[in-house]
Amino acid sequence: MTVLGPAPVPARAAEGEAPLLEAANLTVRFGSPAGEVHAVEDVSLRVAPHESVGIVGESGSGKTVTCMSMTWLLPSPPARYVGGHIRFKGEELRRNDEAQMRRIRGRGIGMIFQNARLSFNPAYRLGAQIAEVLRMHFRTPWRAQLPRVLETLRYCNIADAEGVLQRYPHEVSGGVAQRVSIALALLIRPDLLIADEPTTSLDLLSQIEVLGLLERLRAETGLALVLVSHDLNVVRRIAERVVIMYAGRIVEEGPAHEIFAAPRHPYTQGLLASALQRTEGGRLYELPGTPPDLAALPPGCSFRARCAHAFAPCTSMPPLLPAGAGHAARCHLLAREAADG
């Protein structure tokens, strides 16, 4: 691996290591005619160097807004930064400092999006768009960059690397476009890559290929990764740590193996039951009900209305309660269990 920076680093992050990215009590709301939408409430998130974190939730759970807040990519207005801190490599990010943000965007924190083809401008060839970004970040001539570009594209399983540079976004498949966008993100050499639903709009074979690539990247380059998905199976394959979001809040977080083996929050349990079930023997499991309206959240636990275990204390919002090493869930059941001993 000469193109992709330093030698492979053990993927497992040491406990207590200084975080690469740290969000503390992040709160973001959107103005809307129906009232203020509480998109992200009091979210604290740590990503250690070389760590891979999966964020899981339904549409509207706040996972995308959380990611976009990191480099403040939200349209503002209507998005409003209500409170909290974001630190990247120990540096406090000020959302209204465009110059600082531009330094972080791409170079510190790379992003890839759900529909990679739409993330390229339809009017320019892919090569020109790669060249533009590299020129902005490195100020070296394209000719000098080209070998590294081709090598990185091939690393991302693009056999006809020269040919792809000549294509327009609409002339390649969604899977190829996603791999080109991953290659472009890598070319800027970020410390952290945020992948927002990178496989959602792809066909099954392309999904497998893109996931395989992200897995390989993780193993071979030690790039820190935040993988956002509504699909638990995608996250399970790559993430070391998993964060479950519901109605703008983190409801459970912990090591991936623990979350999948022993989920503590009823919402996580429901998600797992609906995602990992086998079809033999009866009906598919589905979570009853629908997520609450973020513009008019009821007081107390947001999941209360859909929860089979709801009891009296659920009318107040539970804190994130410890449920083991590095594992926590936002549920009163944990407190009850602790009290019951």
Partner: protein, 317 residues
């Protein structure tokens, strides 16, 4: 792309034939027929009518007349002006040039100011500036060209005495490029306002749409500066729309010149049509209308092809 261009080129042939038939027919729709119309007061003399009828070949069958007229027109011969007694073509082509200068001047205003206004209002969407600019374009697009021309002329030429009110060159001293440009400022602006307003509105709405496209967000996420997001990424995708609407405006600017030329005494095709109508010089008027229509069709074709060439998705079809 080439195939499509060929199809478009072929499609303008029937359009031009239709235009020529209508233009030719105009002369014969005049009450009393062309000879009477041309003679005006003198039409009470049947001998004069007969002479003119013979001279212009009006006694022949209409298809024959049309064919003769068209064949000569294609060769650049539009007949003799009944008013000025010179070949119409010798009147027409210098005037066409003057009108094209006025059209080009208006086009520069419309494109430059319209585009800048469209982009800035999109960037400052819903601000006070945006609202005022949109109000201005609404008024500008609704007001008749000659009225705006008269207002501008009154304010800048007569009250403030900053710019000349009439003509194309200064009567004092030899005609220079600079004096033409000086004379161009007011009429070109008056003529440009509607097109400027239309371009500004189209660019604004297309920019508003383009600015929220995923590729602009992605460009931002990749660390590109704001101006590149706006100009290189968003505006590039507005260009086909902008060129399309600009192409249509060229035709209207060309037509608007007719009024503006009269208000500002600009010696162009519009002024020629105006004076030939007043003088009942139907031969000249007919030729001028034919030229205007032909230029209109060709300009729209050119704009369409330019739009195709700029949009790779369309170009590959």
């Amino acid at each position: 792309m080439l195939l499509y261009a060929g199809q478009r080129l072929a499609a303008i042939v029937p359009t031009l034939i239709g235009v020529s038939i209508v233009t030719f027919g105009l002369l014969h729709l005049v009450p009393g027929g062309p000879a009477v119309a041309m003679l005006g007061m003198a039409a009470s003399d049947p001998k004069a009518v007969a002479a003119v009828t013979r001279e212009l070949g009006l006694d022949r069958p209409l298809p024959t007349q049309y064919w003769l007229w068209l064949r000569r027109a294609l060769g650049g011969d539009f007949g003799m002006s009944t008013e000025f007694h010179v070949p119409v073509s010798s009147l027409l082509f210098p005037k066409l040039e003057h009108t094209l200068i006025l059209t080009a001047g208006s086009l520069v205003y419309a494109i430059v100011i319209g585009t800048i206004l469209g982009i800035t209002t999109a960037l400052y969407h819903r601000s006070l500036f945006d609202r005022l600019a949109m109000l201005f374009t609404l008024i500008g697009a609704s007001a008749p060209v000659f009225w705006i021309g008269l207002l501008l002329s009154y304010l800048f030429a007569i009250k403030l005495r900053l710019l000349p009110a009439l003509g194309m060159t200064s009567v004092l001293g030899p005609p220079t490029v600079l004096s033409v440009l000086e004379h161009l400022i007011l009429p070109a602006f008056a003529n440009a306002i509607i097109a400027l307003a239309v371009i500004a509105r189209i660019v604004r709405s297309a920019m508003l749409e383009a600015l929220v496209q995923p590729y602009v967000l992605a460009a931002r996420a990749r660390g590109l500066p704001r101006w590149r997001q706006v100009v290189v990424h968003a505006f590039r995708n507005v260009l086909p729309d902008a060129i399309n609407i600009t192409g249509l405006q060229v035709g209207f600017l060309f037509g608007g010149a007719l009024f503006v030329e009269v208000v500002f005494g600009w010696p162009g095709l519009g002024y020629l049509i105006y004076s030939s109508i007043q003088a009942r010089d139907y031969v000249t008027m007919q030729a001028a209308v034919l030229i205007v229509s032909g230029v209109f069709v060709i300009v729209n074709l050119a704009a369409d092809l330019a739009r195709l060439a700029l949009d790779p998705r369309e170009a590959r079809r």
